[in-house]
Symmetry: C2
Subunit: 437 residues, 2 copies
């Protein structure tokens, strides 16, 4: 940021990585007139058409950061993923495996539903394009892949990029995703937490034309968000593209190691999905038969086996997937990143946020394991399997009903206590309070 | 209850079993002038000296049922299990396995603490004796082991006992524990949910004189509730007997089948515990060395593998352990039974309470598995293991902060809706709302 003119003592912030959390954070800093520069390794916003859904809670955070963000979300056509007029009936889980009525083979037993959430779905690339339109010129620099990060004696940080150029900043926020280089620079290359970890679940994604989906599922099922649950797998679908298409994702448990390469995505086929679901409910099999024969197969990685032990080192901090990449089963990965970015007092942030964000990583794995319970295939254990929905509801409400203002207020108070020299905040105790004789 | 004089149309209630939930429920019915008779198979209150702790939430329920119950609890010397003046520092978890400081081998790392709970500990037998003092004569009949339960054409129920006598009632509540005969009569002897299920954890219990415990643990650790956590095991202790003794319980994971007989308790030895904890922190080992050489070894059973699919059949209902026996890791088994007993409209009760109570059964198993994580023995996975406390706190608060009045109010409303012929209450959907084409 050598060329950024600084009129006051506000710290110069460098953000490494130009994804969703990075962009929203950047808008938050701009709103507060804090100098910021973003370094993205790609030559432009990456064309990943993956779907994203932001909860009401996440959109509230966006508004707190900068109302331009919510405006951009609206402009890119984000629509409700489910009928919000249906109180207490917003996300739905139904039996995708068993046939409960021999006299009606199309019958699927409803298992549970919960209200709230208020998700708006959009495409990742479209959202980033809309955000870029409101960004002041020169804030993002593309084709800047960070190589090294050096803490200098005067407290500033020198970033060196693969193209040989450098940049200086007073603080660095690593928003560089699950394979974060900033994380590696904090933890070291020997640390297992520096690398993405396989959750032993894979996801196949594809779109089905809505008219064909309705023939197979009926209009209500097709036009609202549903999970089909069964042993070792679940199938999630919701309408996209203004209800012209159904986004279908099949999640399979995979006890072995990830079979693809380090890109975390490989070529998959409909045949593989059909083999895995060969004894599932006919409606699910009929839906799968409508999918393209070639499907992208995503290995689901997170930072759950070896969570990041600290989210900061001096004036370098991690945010979003770089800090706490999660599997997608709560639909809250990026939503959580938003909350992180509200306050940049890094050590306070670490103490206030680490355990909760890592809870989410674990919770997402736990929820998928509950979905995939083998008990769904054993009528004697259906009651046992069904009990999971009490837990799933609690976990969802914990995420959706988070008191953002309360957290920000408490973080600011703790931050000011720290500035006044109060003792360290401990989530548990501090180590100094340990038990000795 | 043939000899109970009935002055009005209130239903005659027979309670099978004379344990803690039964007694508290009986006091609740007496307070509401509902005729009740209790049939207990033993010849008197059983002399089980097991410790019991009631949370503030459970004691609030007792007060709602009948203030005599809370009075009895006070009279039997129930004392706080931990220092309640320590806000946010009431239940504590510390590392019982690792030595984090080579220069101070007595140091134990604190892992987490949470506030609230407000538990009062007492001995089961003493509490029952105190309750019995306030019970009107003739309400309990001892030496009455229920053999059969017959629904008669007029809607009444005939109970037949092992001594050949019978009793009649308009409704029966099975408070006959984890091996409930009432449950068997509802579900049938072929149903796996009719039998207790092994949680693959065992507990060794014993008392240590407080003076000796303080020499090993120091006064703070010895006088307040603590869990020592480590791979495959945890050790819980809290003061009893007016701080003259330390109640110590060692929980071990046991992947195999239960090695004892159907009584669920067998003879164990300190040697077995010392072998299991041979590589644990020296303070834990020193504490164990103070225990008696013979220890009772409890197999921990619950209804978690095959939960009870319905809590009632016509005018027969299950409550407490008969409905949802749980392992003890939330310290909330009997507390949950209390809430069940407030409202006896059985089908409403079943719909309102079944999923939540079975959540507790699962949650208790889950919490013990989190305690026993193998990750505690692997420094690279300590951060991962530590993340469990966010979940444990949530689970505890869900239990402790339950809105009893709200639940009762909602249950009454649902009950009245049902009486007015409204459609069935569904926790998920009702099956009739299923998905067909």
């Amino acid at each position: 940021m050598g060329d950024t003119t600084l009129g006051d003592t506000k710290p110069r912030i460098a953000i490494v990585g130009g994804g969703v959390v990075s962009m929203i954070l950047t808008f938050g800093l701009i709103q507060r007139k804090i100098p910021v520069r973003v370094y993205e390794q790609a030559s432009g916003f990456r064309e990943i058409g993956a779907g994203f859904a932001f909860s009401a809670c996440a959109r509230h955070c966006m508004d707190l950061l900068n109302p331009s963000v919510t405006e951009a979300l609206k402009r890119c056509g984000a629509v409700p993923i489910s009928d919000e007029n249906e109180k207490d009936n917003y996300l739905r889980w139904i039996d995708g495996y068993n046939q409960h009525r021999l006299d009606d083979l199309s019958y699927q037993k409803p298992l549970a539903q919960i209200g709230g959430g208020g998700f708006r779905g959009c495409r990742r690339d479209q959202f980033l394009q809309e955000l870029a339109k409101d960004l002041p010129p020169g804030v993002i620099e593309f084709s800047k892949r960070m190589d090294t990060l050096e803490h200098r004696e005067d407290g500033s940080i020198l970033l060196t990029f693969a193209d040989g150029t450098t940049a200086e900043a007073d603080a660095v926020i690593g928003c560089d995703g699950i394979k974060s280089n900033v994380r590696k620079s904090i933890l070291g290359i020997e640390n297992k937490a520096s690398y993405a970890q396989y959750t032993h679940k894979v996801a196949y994604r594809g779109l089905v034309p809505m008219s064909a989906a309705i023939e197979v599922l009926g209009p209500w099922l097709a036009n609202n968000f549903h999970h089909h649950i069964g042993p070792g797998s679940h199938v999630t679908h919701y309408p996209v593209a203004n209800h012209q298409a159904l986004n279908v994702v099949i999640f399979l448990s995979d006890p072995g190691p990830w079979s693809g390469d380090s890109s975390m995505v490989s070529e998959g086929s409909r045949d593989e999905v059909e083999a895995a679901l060969h004894d599932w409910h006919p409606k699910v099999r009929n839906l799968v038969s409508l999918m393209p024969t070639k499907l992208s197969k995503w290995g689901l990685f997170d930072l759950g086996d070896y969570p990041v032990p600290t989210y900061y080192d001096r004036s370098v901090c991690l945010a979003g997937d770089a800090a706490h990449a999660t599997s997608p089963h709560h639909g809250a990965g990026a939503c959580l990143g938003l909350r992180n970015s509200v306050e940049v007092a890094f050590d306070t942030f670490d103490k206030m946020r680490r355990r909760r964000t890592q809870w989410l990583v674990n919770s997402s794995r736990r929820v998928c394991d509950l979905y995939h319970q083998r008990e769904w295939a054993d009528p004697e254990r259906w009651t046992k399997a069904d009990t999971c929905f009490e837990e799933i509801r609690d976990r969802s409400y914990k995420i959706w009903n988070f008191d953002v203002e309360g957290m920000v207020q408490q973080t600011l108070e703790k931050y000011e206590e720290r500035l006044r020299g109060q003792p360290e905040i401990a989530e548990g105790f501090s180590e100094e309070d340990g038990y000795t004789l």
